[in-house]
């Protein structure tokens, strides 16, 4: 499973930054945390390939690039984008928020929508199974029956947990972890055979993080009733939501989102589909 | 000789606490150690019981040097009983349990097997109804008698008593001294560190006067108490006897 890292085209970023600013705030005027600025939150740390080198301000990586594209669409210059870090918990806790929107692969779910607002989806992800070559050599097969017997793990804070129950329904209770790093440590220690991630994350982990890592296969997004769709997270009832949604609709229609995806997310067609 | 101390020397750090102590104790004899506080009485007793290692000298018990450095002290201690000023009963055990612990662990006897013998001991020392009491439910005199019974239950050949009446109220002293008289009558070999001069004079066979770690005068009690030769002995006796 090779991961092809497309090199950032700086021109793209420069282009975004320089794109004729529709006077900042046509739609967003007075609706942002700070007038004339757009405050965007991401994870701490932010992971590859969503943000490269944990430096969102460089605009490299899928989510960083999307953020700048949305900002530009909303009429903010690149210089007017302010980055902050906020986890999921800070995003859902009651009280004032430190950001206008937060993007870090938050999956849109009806339960969450009762508490916070999500934008329209900016990415729909397949789910993929990260494992090691040793497990594959041990006879693990990319069939549903074969997957059930594996020892599973997942990041406890993601929708990978219900997805796992929904898609695989493993025979033994999965082990759950705080973050990607811990899940991969458990794979490495042989405590779990496989873990479920969104496909881009899975590709990265299997290629770079997990020693002798491998992808056993993917569940395409259309496999479930609730595919994993990422949305920008905003305070419940955020005034800025309509502006954000407009921007995303425009970016989708213009093919810009697809372009960013092609630049920052590697080819996923080669990953076998689990039947 | 039942017990012979030969040139005992002992120091704590830089202070010499026992300096060339020699003493013979015959079978059935009662020897009293008297002397000012800090003169080394307790230390002698603790050395005989092997609770303190000697720097130099030998202790012969029935012809065996029990102070030899490589010797296992445990079997020796079983032959020598000691009773302390502060009783040192085990507070978490009843009187009977205090007494039975060592025979059970050391001789492997069962509680039931020990009961007749231990009950008899308690009866003999007027403690028949106190066997199931905890130490803190007993008077000082009763506690000290239990401590004596505890040592006797191991059937020791020699008994050491370290100022066993000093912590008692005056009216309780008598009942404990009575026990010693009884033991003497029965032929127990005993060494006492004591401040009870009247008792020492009337009951002891031999008295040693200690001064700063040395025995500077010893002999029959009448000689020591009535005609001490050393000025320090005279001085000490005049002070303690006058005080009474």
């Amino acid at each position: 499973m090779s991961l092809r890292l497309s090199v950032a085209s700086l021109g793209l970023i420069a282009g975004l930054a320089a794109s004729p600013a529709i006077a900042a705030g046509d739609c967003a005027a007075g609706k942002t945390l700070e007038d004339g600025k757009l405050t965007i939150a991401t994870g701490n740390p932010a992971y590859f390939p969503w943000v490269i080198d944990d430096a969102p301000e460089k605009g490299e990586g899928y989510e960083a690039a999307v953020a700048y594209a949305i900002a530009a669409e909303m009429g903010f210059a690149a210089d007017d984008v302010v980055w902050v870090r906020a986890g999921f918990d800070e995003s859902i806790q009651p009280g004032a928020k430190s950001f206008d929107f937060n993007l870090q692969q938050f999956s849109i779910t009806p339960d969450r929508e009762k508490v916070v607002d999500f934008s329209l989806p900016y990415y729909t992800s397949a789910m993929a199974v990260v494992t090691t070559q040793a497990v594959i050599d041990g006879g693990a097969a990319a069939t549903l029956e074969g997957l059930k017997t594996l020892k599973w793990g997942a990041d406890a804070n993601t929708t990978a947990v219900p997805m796992l129950m929904d898609l695989v329904a493993p025979d033994s209770d999965p082990l759950l972890y705080n973050d990607n790093t811990d899940v991969t440590a458990a794979i490495q220690a042989g405590q779990i055979d496989a873990a479920l991630f969104d496909l881009p994350t899975a590709l990265y982990l299997a290629a770079v993080v997990v020693e002798n890592g491998a992808i056993l296969g993917q569940f395409p997004a259309d496999r479930t009733d609730n595919p994993d769709q990422f949305g920008l997270l905003m305070e419940d009832g955020a005034a800025i939501k309509t502006c954000v949604d407009e921007a995303i609709t425009a970016l989708t229609a213009s093919g810009k989102l697809a372009e960013i995806e092609a630049t920052w997310l590697s080819e996923t067609t080669g990953v076998p589909v689990i039947e | 000789m039942k017990l012979r101390l030969e040139n005992l020397r002992k120091s704590f750090g830089d202070t010499l606490v026992l300096d060339d102590i020699s003493l013979d104790v015959a079978e059935g004899q009662m020897v009293c150690l008297i002397g000012a506080s800090g003169s080394g009485k307790s230390t002698i007793l603790r050395c005989i019981n092997l609770l303190e290692p000697l720097d130099d000298g030998a202790i012969w018990l029935d012809g065996q040097d029990i102070a030899a450095p490589a010797l296992d002290p445990q079997p020796i201690r079983q032959r020598i009983g000691i009773v302390f000023q502060s009783f040192n009963l085990f507070p978490h055990m009843t009187a009977a349990e205090n007494v039975m612990l060592a025979p059970r662990r050391v001789h492997g006897k069962s509680r039931d097997a020990l009961l007749p013998e231990v009950s008899a001991l308690f009866e003999r020392f007027g403690l028949g109804d106190r066997m199931d009491h905890y130490p803190d439910q007993l008077s000082g005199g009763q506690q000290q008698r239990v401590a004596i019974v505890r040592a006797l239950a191991m059937n020791p050949e020699i008994m050491l008593f370290d100022e066993i009446t000093s912590a008692l109220d005056p009216e309780l002293v008598g009942e404990v001294l009575e026990v010693l008289t009884t033991l003497k009558r029965e032929g127990m070999t005993m060494i006492l560190a004591t401040h009870e001069m009247d008792f020492a004079q009337s009951v002891a066979d031999h008295v040693c006067f200690l001064d700063r770690g040395r025995i500077i005068e010893q002999g029959h009690p009448d000689k020591i108490f009535d005609a001490p030769t050393q000025p320090r002995t005279q001085d000490f006796l005049s002070r303690v006897l006058r005080r009474r």
Binding site: F88, D89, I92, Q93, P94, G95, T109, D111, R112, K114, V115, V116, K151, G153, A156, N157, T158, T159, V161, P162, D173, P174, L175, L176, Y177, N178, D182, A185, A186, Q188, A189, G190, Q191, I192 | R46, N49, L51, P73, Q74, P75, R77, Q78, I80, G81, I82, F84, S86, N88, L89, F90, P91, H92, L101, A102, R105, V106, D136, R150, A151, M154
Partner: protein, 276 residues
């Protein structure tokens, strides 16, 4: 009892009056504080949000059964860890107490051990041992996070428990040990029958506190995979975007730890009464 034929002494009467008055003061002041909270807090502008996020009835109903179930895992981990901790802690305490110069290395080991494991945060030990040792290539089931996570808890807690035991052992006066030795008991018997029973009794309150701390730290095992109550609450929090599951988990914990604390205090008080 004092008093004649069920009558009450003057002193008892007085104490009763005193008790009644202090009870009244305590009850009324508690009530006043509660009332203030119940009346004032809901008036705060953010109360509704807070209530929705932390005390959501719907979420409680939805998550309680699974959380309770996950709590059984906490109880199980506690149940098998606590005896191991007690045994290892005592062993370390005894190792630190050896007098024989030949066994000095044992003593040194005890010192180094307690220093290290008391100096490192439990979480770190859980991570290091829980991921590290299995990472050396142990086959299943010997790489189970339950085994190594438990070991991490046991190693850490044993260090604290050993220090408490040791302080207890040292608090028993040397004359007790000497009295035992003078009777001809071996050093080991003197420790076992004379020193330890007194030492352990004295440190029961401190050890009870360790048990209560352990009951909470059991949750740290979730860092290496096991889905115990706090992890399960975290999953719910993430899925429902709501903190109520944590509050439920905390409540379940309290239901166990508060009576345990009360019981411990009661036992100690009873023991103290029996002693005097």
């Amino acid at each position: 009892m004092a008093g004649n034929q069920g009558g009450v002494t003057r002193r008892q009467e007085y104490e009763k009056r005193l008790r009644r008055r202090s009870l009244f003061v305590a009850a009324s002041s508690t009530l006043a504080v509660l009332l203030a909270i119940v009346v004032l807090v809901p008036r705060a502008p953010g109360w509704e949000r807070v209530q929705q996020s932390f005390f959501n009835a719907e979420v409680i109903a939805k998550t309680f059964p699974k959380l309770l179930n996950a709590f059984l895992l906490d109880v199980a981990i506690f149940a098998w860890s606590a005896p191991l901790i007690a045994v290892l802690g005592l062993a370390i305490a005894l190792a630190r107490d050896v007098r024989n110069p030949v066994l000095y290395p044992l003593r040194l080991f005890g010192i180094v051990y307690t220093d290290i494991f008391r100096g490192v945060p439990v979480v770190l030990v859980v991570y290091l041992i829980g991921f590290g040792i299995p990472g050396l290539g142990l086959p299943r089931p010997w790489n189970s996070p339950y085994i190594w996570g438990t070991l991490a808890l046991v190693l850490t807690y044993a260090a604290y428990v050993a220090e408490i035991f040791r302080s207890g052992i040292e608090s028993v006066h040397a004359s007790q040990r000497n009295a035992a030795l003078s009777l001809g008991l071996s050093g080991a018997d003197a420790m076992r029958f004379v020193v330890l029973p007194q030492a352990i009794r004295r440190v029961i309150p401190a050890q009870m506190n360790m048990l209560i701390a352990l009951q909470k730290d059991v949750a740290l095992l979730s860092f290496i995979g096991p889905v115990e109550i706090f992890r399960q609450a975290g999953v719910f929090k993430s899925l429902l975007a709501n903190f109520t599951p944590y509050v439920v988990a905390a409540a379940i914990f309290l239901v166990v730890t508060v009576p345990a604390t009360r019981l411990a205090d009661h036992l100690i008080a009873k023991q103290n009464r029996a002693r005097t």
